[in-house]
């Protein structure tokens, strides 16, 4: 069973993903639920083009990257444990650059 997810990379994060801000992806998840932790692994394997350390730190996103699910702060949704639903829009905004 595949899940369609919309991924957005903003605030400079897009540079790690071929300068493309919006990606619509289909992720094979089988019978289980897909959480953000697994999504990050999937992004790391399939989408990230360079400089892993600028996007991820260990199993989570690098501190300083704001994550929103359908415009809601992921820290209100359980962060890595949030279970992704069909057509969810997950936004990664980097805050780590000059202002």
């Amino acid at each position: 069973m595949a899940l369609t997810v919309i991924l957005e990379f903003l605030g400079g994060a897009e540079f790690l993903f071929g300068h493309v801000k919006h990606h619509t992806v289909s992720i094979e998840k089988g019978e289980n639920k897909l959480n953000i932790s697994q999504l990050l692994m999937w992004i790391k394997e399939n989408l990230l083009q360079e400089r892993l350390e600028l996007f991820m730190q260990g199993c989570t996103v690098r501190p300083g990257i704001l994550v929103l699910v359908n415009d809601v702060d992921w820290s209100l949704l359980g962060e890595l444990t949030y279970e992704i639903e069909e057509n969810d829009r997950i936004t990664f905004i980097s805050t780590l650059h000059g202002g």
Partner: protein, 392 residues
Amino acid sequence: MPLLCSICKDKRALLKRPKTGTPVCKDCFYWAFECEIHHTIQTANLFKRGEKVAIGASGGKDSTVLAYVLKTLNERYDYGLNLFLLSIDEGITGYRDDSLETVKRNQQQYDLPLKVLSYQDLYGWSMDAIVKQIGRKNNCTFCGVFRRQALDRGAMSLGVDKIATGHNADDVAETIIMNILRGDIARLQRCTAIITGDDPSGIPRVKPFKYTYEKEIVAYAYFKKLDYFSTECIYAPNAYRGHARAYLKDLEAIRSSTIIDIIHSGEMMSVKEGVKMPVQTKCKKCGYISSNEFCKACVLLEGLNKGLPRLGVGKTSKVNQQLKQVNDSKSCECQNKSTKCCLNNVPKTAPSSCPNRSKNCENGDAKFDSPSVKDNQMDKTTKICLTNSEIL
């Protein structure tokens, strides 16, 4: 069951505030964000009615949001301010030229006058040219020092009373840590001040975002769909600040109040009695505020123009030594056309090529041994003339 906003208890919460850890909805977030900045401005008396204020605008997230919020608060609370956008073009291809386009769009979007000043015009050196000269280390030293002066000069030419910059809480906390790590007590004392440069000769600078979290500035810009430019400066990866930033972010993940706590520590710290602190005086060359005889910008420029890229980067004592050598060579009256002064072997101010490397220079003055000579070991190049005359 979606979480409700902790303020209005009515709408769905969208953001968890880093400052308080409480969930807020979009409208309450806007209100709290703007209210707190208004409170900071009022409590610290940042502005006076009728003042002309230049907003240091780079096109980045902080300055774009600052321009938007200051304009909003100015109208909402009738501050009576005259707002301008002031932008500095450091001459960094692929970074600054793109972000300046954003500032020009901001000018249209917020309907504010804009002035752009370039390093090329002010100093005769763009950052690209500087980096080509000095290499990839210490770039931020040049850029930061020149930018501060450039902002002041731009502000003076506009006749403004104050400069507002978008430095946020994260920036201030990073700066405190950097100054501790580098033992820079003088800067440590100054860096938490919300108003700086308050002396009669300078133009005061204010930081309305001093207590505003970077995460909230980004969230505000995102939800309000504000147009900003987001790329890392191409010379930034080598910056020392990056280490402080990474450290701070890791600490914040463990303890969310880290940033505001560090600012509090910085504000409460005071210097022990009897500690010698630099006295703020005026640069002998350009009159700009300085802790030394010559301001940093003049020292750096002198270094660039004289081919001494390390001048001004490092200890003051070494700077004085190098400056003395340069000045001594300037006063050398030797007619020798070689590239180095025969007296003290430092580069001359107006080098020209001369193949003569004999022991005596052209007008018969004896040369000093070059610095590479130790004891009686003679460096042959100072002694042998290219015409292969005898070693003397």
